[in-house]
């Protein structure tokens, strides 16, 4: 990891701050901690961070308010939400409100590491886009492919598209795959298994042995999975929105789930 990269951890629980900073420091990152979102906002106005990790449930100012404040202050640094299990809906909501990812508590060292890895990768991509913009080089393509306008996405992680009456196709966004990079192996759930929106539905394993949890954009029952991915894993990165789909499912409460999804058409405006 680059020496210049630093992260800010916000949680009202000291032991979480300790644990996260212990791991992040061991990974060679500069770590700042804060036990309140309010004072963290002050820190942010003074210093730029590559990545922010923030708890949702906090007294005074909670994670959602923090996200809103960031938006209001036009701070675009990537934020990963830390959340308890009780708030999977809240976590989904935080993705909708602009967080790039979330980590459900309690998490292992490996899980935290993979999230931080993706968060930093996201930051780097962001930087590259900014550089391209400042250079005003219109011929240079953006480093990732946005999903088709018909689609809906869960944060920057996964997409879904209603294929036919009552059947939904889902897959990983190019941006998510870009943050993972050296994909080595993929582990999928079985046909007939149940997906829940915002919960892990596949594991992407990279060359450096990190396990990235892939979160389902909708809830429902799997009716088909893309077996081609086992033959050629590169298909995912080559054509993430069409041939690289992951599951076909029958959604169970699509109207409710849709409320937490972002229409991809809005990305092009």
């Amino acid at each position: 990891m680059l020496k210049s990269e630093n992260i800010l951890v916000i949680d009202d629980e000291q032991v979480i701050l300790d644990a996260v900073s212990r791991i992040a420091t061991a990974e060679g990152l500069d770590v700042d901690v804060d036990n309140s979102a309010k004072s963290a906002l002050k820190k942010l106005s003074l210093k730029e961070y590559s990545l922010i990790l923030c708890d949702i449930l906090m007294p005074e100012m909670d994670g959602f308010m923090f996200l809103e404040k960031l938006q209001a202050q036009k701070i675009t640094n990537p934020v990963i939400m830390i959340t308890g299990f009780s708030t999977v809906e809240n976590a989904v909501k935080s993705l909708f409100k602009g967080a790039i990812d979330f980590i459900p508590k309690p998490f292992t060292f490996e899980e935290l590491k993979s999230h931080i890895h993706r968060g930093l990768q996201f930051y780097r991509l962001q930087k590259r886009i900014e550089e391209l913009k400042t250079k005003d080089n219109s011929s240079a393509s953006i480093p990732y492919v946005p999903c088709p306008p018909k689609y809906h996405r869960l944060g920057h992680l996964s997409w879904m598209n209603v294929e036919a009456e009552g059947i939904v196709k889902l897959g990983a966004t190019n941006l998510f795959l870009e943050t993972i990079r050296d994909l080595n192996k993929i582990e999928l759930m079985n046909v007939d298994d149940l997906l829940i929106q915002g919960e892990t539905c596949a594991d992407f394993i990279t060359d450096d042995d990190l396990i990235h949890h892939f979160l389902s954009p909708v809830g429902g029952r799997i009716i088909e999975r893309n077996e081609k991915l086992f033959i050629d894993i590169k298909l995912l990165q080559k054509d993430p929105y069409f041939n690289g789909w992951i599951y076909k499912i029958i959604p169970e409460n699509i109207e409710y789930d849709m409320k937490h999804l972002i229409p991809c058409a809005s990305d092009r405006m």
Binding site: V20, F85, S86, P106, F109, E110, I250
Partner: protein, 627 residues
């Protein structure tokens, strides 16, 4: 209000009213019958006296003609021997007593103003002919003696009289004298008075008996049921909704008692539902809070241990130990997660699932526990069950809970748990809920605010006689617990419309086949049209597409045990949160949560139990997609 007073008032009023009417009727009847009897007896006495008088006149006729006064005396005296005859006398036109059964009066004069003469001599000119009734008189000579019936018999001049040898009577004379017979009415009066007293005694007995019978039946049919109803209202009023009125028969009060029981049962259900959802909400908050608190220390343990594990390469023993910590912390994480899933049961995540599969996976969780207690398991699962839309995790919790409860209920080692699943077919009429309703312009008619049995109702606008109001329809097909918020005066002139766009829902040209009132209809997507009669008194309704199917399929799962059973007092409480018979062992939440889950799946759960025989829980889940 005093119960005693109410009862006394009603029964007393009834007894007094009926008693008064009875007294009046029996008195009039007795009076009339006494009168009739009296007249009958008197007329018999009159006929007797008249005959006697005729007999005397005829028998003395000859001796008179022969002018043999001694013989006349003898005849009169002989006849006067007859018991009840007071006096026989004959006096001439001047009023001189010529003959008498009492010799001391012979030769005396009769006062023409005396009663015996009164009939003829009221006018100055005496009458010559008199009808029989007017020849009679009843009087009481001395005031305290018995009554006397007197009959006078004028002796008319006949040819034999003036032709007789004595030549006493000239031919011109019309009336020669008068025969006066006095009969004592002592016997007759005695008879009259005895029959009078018989009638009075009969009347008194009849009145007393009738009052007694009325009193007894009023008590049995009115006072006791009313007493029971008053007790019940007081019980319900003081909050005891489990009070059940005993069967009071099929009369109006019996029906009142039945509908009262029905009402309290409905109230109790509604109260329980309210209580339940309230408890569930607070339980959810509690569990969420606890889980959140536990998650933080767990995060610390998990991150540090897993971090440590990564950094140890050369100490396999330590690595193994750390692995145990990581593994067990991950297990705790799963427990917290399931606790939260448990608390979050308000939003079931439903998808098609096989209920038998769920039962089997629930059994695999509790298998160890059952075999430890040496409990026999009997499984009878219908393999042809259709898949139904349920939350598999929640449903699994239901079965785990029921099986654990069943095994806890069995103390001795040779207990048995049986699980039966099968498909049953029940009528939709009276069970199926209308969950969506739209007018012809696709506005929803569902009213989430006013609920019946905690189900949203269908709200319609009603206009009747210029008044505007609302009508909320019972969402259960076949039940008519509709709430009219407007009085419908004329069922022919009613307008029913959508609350949003005012489009009329009244069906043209079709009328209720039961009462001929107007009918209204709306669409229940996707289950076709629903029609109902506007008359609040009429329960006619039709849901054609549902009627076509007729019966709905349900999956029925029975979980029975041979345990200690649940007493009748406790059985109504078992679905209440925090109710537990396990003491410190249980939280008292299991069955409340089960109830909530089943309710969220539009299903029902019932329990039957017998002390020391066992308990059976029956779950009914609708098979969706058949409509």
């Amino acid at each position: 209000m005093n119960i005693g007073q109410v009862i006394t008032k009603i029964s007393l009023k009834l007894i007094l009213t009926v008693g008064a009417v009875t007294i009046a009727i029996i008195s009039v009847y007795s009076y009339l019958s006494i009168q009739a009897q009296r007249n009958e007896l008197l007329s018999q006495a009159e006929v007797y006296a008249n005959k006697l008088s005729e007999t005397i006149r005829n028998s003395t006729h000859l001796s008179m003609l022969q002018n043999r006064s001694d013989q006349t005396h003898r005849i009169i005296n002989t006849i006067a021997q007859e018991p009840g005859l007071r006096e026989i006398r004959i006096f001439n036109k001047e009023g001189r007593i010529m003959f008498s059964s009492q010799p001391e009066f012979i030769g005396g004069m009769v006062d023409k103003n005396a009663e015996s003469c009164y009939a003829c001599h009221t006018e100055n000119e005496p009458l010559e002919k008199l009808p029989m009734e007017e020849r009679m008189r009843i009087y009481q000579a001395p005031k305290d003696s018995s009554r006397i019936l007197g009959i006078i018999n004028p002796i008319y001049n006949e040819s034999s009289c003036w032709e007789a040898e004595c030549h006493v009577h000239p031919k011109e004379q019309k009336v020669l004298g008068v025969l006066d017979v006095k009969v004592s009415l002592k016997d007759v009066d005695a008879q009259i008075s005895s029959s009078q007293s018989r009638s009075i005694i009969f009347a008194i007995i009849a009145i007393a008996l009738l009052s007694l019978i009325i009193g007894i039946f009023v008590r049995k049919w009115v006072a006791e049921p009313v007493n029971e109803l008053v007790t019940a209202t007081e019980q319900v009023g003081s909050g005891n909704l489990n009070y059940v009125i005993k069967d009071l028969g099929v009369d109006e009060l019996g029906l009142l008692a039945k509908s009262f029981n029905n009402m309290t049962q409905k109230l109790a259900e509604a109260r329980m539902q309210l209580f339940q959802s309230d408890k569930m909400a607070s339980l959810g908050r509690l569990a969420a809070g606890v889980a959140h608190e536990i998650n933080n220390p767990l995060t610390a343990v998990l991150t540090y241990s897993s971090f440590l594990l990564k950094r140890i390469d050369n100490n396999p023993q330590l690595k193994e130990d750390l692995n145990v910590i990581v593994r067990e912390t991950k297990r705790s994480r799963e427990i917290v997660k399931s606790l939260l899933d448990f608390a979050r049961q308000s939003i079931p995540k439903k998808s098609n699932a096989d209920i038998n599969e769920i039962i089997n996976s629930a059994l695999s969780v509790v298998e160890n526990q059952l075999s430890l207690k040496q409990i026999k398991l009997e499984k009878n699962l219908d393999e042809n069950l259709p898949q139904i839309k349920i939350d598999s995790n929640q449903m699994q919790q239901v079965f785990i809970n029921l099986i654990v409860n069943a095994s806890d209920a069995m103390n001795e080692k040779d207990g048995k748990i049986s699980i039966i699943s099968k498909i049953v077919n029940l009528s939709a009429y009276g069970t199926l809920q209308i969950k969506s309703a739209v007018c012809s312009k696709r506005h929803t008619l569902i009213d989430e605010e006013l609920k019946i049995d905690s189900m949203p109702t269908i709200k319609l606008k009603v206009t009747s006689n210029g008044d505007e109001g609302y009508l909320n329809i019972d969402p259960i097909y076949g039940k008519s617990r509709d709430i009219y918020r407007l009085k419908i005066k004329n069922t022919a002139n009613v307008q029913v419309s959508c609350t949003k766009c005012n489009i009329s829902l009244i069906s043209k040209d079709t009328f209720c086949p039961k009462c001929k009132s107007a009918i209204y209809s709306f669409e229940v997507p996707p289950q076709g049209m629903f029609e109902k009669c506007i008359n609040p008194e009429c329960d006619w309704q039709r849901w054609a597409s549902v009627d076509e199917v007729g019966f709905r399929d349900f999956i029925e799962v029975k979980v029975s045990d041979t345990g200690c059973g649940i007493s009748k007092e406790n059985i109504s409480k078992i679905f209440e949160p925090f109710y537990s018979t396990k003491g410190q062992k249980g939280t008292g939440l299991g069955l409340a949560v089960i109830w909530g889950i089943i309710d969220n799946h539009d299903g029902t759960i019932n329990v039957e139990s017998e002390i020391n025989k066992g308990t059976t829980f029956t779950i009914l889940l609708p098979v969706t997609g058949t409509l």
